[in-house]
């Protein structure tokens, strides 16, 4: 569905991506893992035609219309309400506005549909940005740090949505620096360090290869188990 071969990207004298090669299969959740500045967003920008690579090639098995995008900067219209934001894009895609209502329901924002964006919390804005990305039921979803800076409850909600989307046939390419999130969500991951992929495969394979199988402490689950409520 997505393939990158030996991609090189430079900004001036600085090489930010070196020989980046990976393949994402249809209906797979693929995670690009790495710290800030590793080059994750640059990869998304290249795949979504926002940047040109200086070397290598890539292919995507979907037209731009069939891709959805969620970036760390949400690009929402702050003076419009949630539904109006989605309707702008429904009109551009030429799909019925009922899809906006369906998308807003799917991210759990229906009660806030008439709220203007500048009154929403960060988590609500993230969910609205995700609703916009999935509005036209894209074949491929690019999610740049989809849960960055969110509280665990909201992050869990977004995780569930991503898994549901994949179960419904979408291919998901996401970037994260949260290893726990990657293990939880991704079928395959690539570890990116200073613009180079240092390892890739399924999380279990990678951990096995590096003798790193262990039980990950999951404080969120403990909290929910002990209190019966999610962290808000």
């Amino acid at each position: 569905m997505i393939q990158m071969n030996n991609i090189v990207k430079r900004f001036g004298a600085q090489t930010v991506l070196t020989d980046v090669t990976f393949k994402v299969k249809e209906k797979e959740i693929f995670g690009m893992l790495g710290p800030s500045g590793a080059g994750k967003t640059t990869i998304i920008n290249i795949l979504t035609n926002q940047l040109e690579a200086d070397g290598g090639n890539y292919s995507i098995g979907a037209s731009p219309f069939e891709t959805g995008l969620m970036l760390d900067e949400d690009g929402l219209y702050i003076r419009l309400n949630c539904l109006e934001n989605l309707n702008v894009f429904a009109d551009i895609y030429g799909i019925p506005r009922e899809k906006s209502v369906a998308a807003i329901k799917s991210v759990g924002l229906f009660d806030a549909a008439k709220k203007t964006v500048n009154t929403l919390s960060k988590g609500m804005r993230q969910r609205l940005a995700l609703a916009r990305a999935i509005l036209h039921e894209p074949k491929i979803l690019f999610l740049d740090e989809p849960t960055g800076g969110l509280d665990p409850a909201t992050a869990r909600g977004i995780h569930k949505l991503i898994l549901d989307l994949c179960a419904n046939g979408a291919t998901v390419f996401l970037t994260t620096h949260n290893m726990e999130e990657a293990v939880k969500l991704c079928d395959k991951v690539a570890l990116l360090h200073k613009g180079k992929i240092v390892e890739q495969g399924s999380p279990a394979e990678i951990c096995e290869r590096h003798n790193a199988i262990k039980t990950v402490p999951d404080l969120e689950s403990v909290f929910i188990k002990l209190t019966g409520v999610e962290l808000e």
């Binding site: 926002q50 731009p64 219309f65 690009g75 929402l76 219209y77 003076r79 419009l80 702008v88 551009i92």
Partner: protein, 231 residues
């Protein structure tokens, strides 16, 4: 067409909720009305339409430049433009949708100026023609400024001095002949010439404004080639 309509509608909703932009379309006709009623009509030494002429030129030269530059720079700064481009919106569709609504708002304000000036018949037609042409010139200039600016602050910093020159040149020109000659190349001065005297050379005025528009389109294309629309 679908995208243009969607962006036009978005721009309409957004502008009515953005007092900073909306006020620019109200304040100039309002000042023209107040000054005409309170000063011009009660003072025989002042032409009845003096304040309409002055405010219309300032509006066309200032408000439309800063409003357009601000709207585009905001869309770039907030990365909204990226999502539009990703959704398949072509640059010209975005600019027509955004500029189209600002032009419509400019037309409504121009009609208000015309009504305050009590223009009728051919005068009203000539007034609206030069106002719409001047508005188009200002919107193209504002779009070029919005494109080259990284954010709204940079857009305002760049647009304001240009807008002040365009808006106030006709007023200064009325006190100084040398300035009047030099300002003759500006579309706002030609607007001022026609509105001050509807029997003035109309063909010359719209030709000069047309040349201004052509030059600004070239400037816009250069700005677009350099910076594009991506935030």
């Amino acid at each position: 067409m679908r995208s243009i309509k969607a962006i036009f509608t978005k721009q309409a909703k957004d502008m009515f909720r953005n007092p900073m932009v909306l006020v620019q379309f109200i304040i100039f006709p309002a000042v023209a009305l107040i000054m005409t009623e309170l000063i011009a009509k009660s003072n025989e030494d002042i032409a009845t339409n003096m304040f309409v002429t002055m405010m219309a030129a300032i509006f066309a030269g200032m408000a439309l430049v800063t409003a357009t530059a601000g709207v585009i720079a905001e869309d770039k700064e907030r990365k909204s433009l990226r999502f539009l481009v990703m959704a398949g919106v072509k640059p010209h569709e975005y600019l027509i949708g955004t500029g189209g609504f600002i032009l419509l708002a400019g037309l409504i304000a121009s009609i208000a100026f015309g009504l305050i000036g009590v223009f009728t018949g051919i005068e009203f037609a000539r007034f609206l023609t030069v106002m719409i042409m001047a508005a188009a010139a200002s919107i193209i200039l504002g779009a070029a400024i919005g494109i080259v600016s990284k954010n709204q602050q940079a857009a305002t910093a760049l647009a304001m001095p240009i807008a002040v020159i365009l808006g106030f040149a006709p007023m200064i020109a009325s006190f100084n002949e040398t300035v009047a000659k030099a300002a003759g190349i500006l579309y706002t001065q030609q607007l001022n010439v026609i509105v001050n005297d509807f029997s003035a050379n109309f063909t010359k005025a719209i030709t000069v404004i047309g040349i201004n528009i052509a030059v600004l389109i070239i400037l816009f294309v250069l700005a677009y080639q350099k910076k594009g629309l991506r935030g």
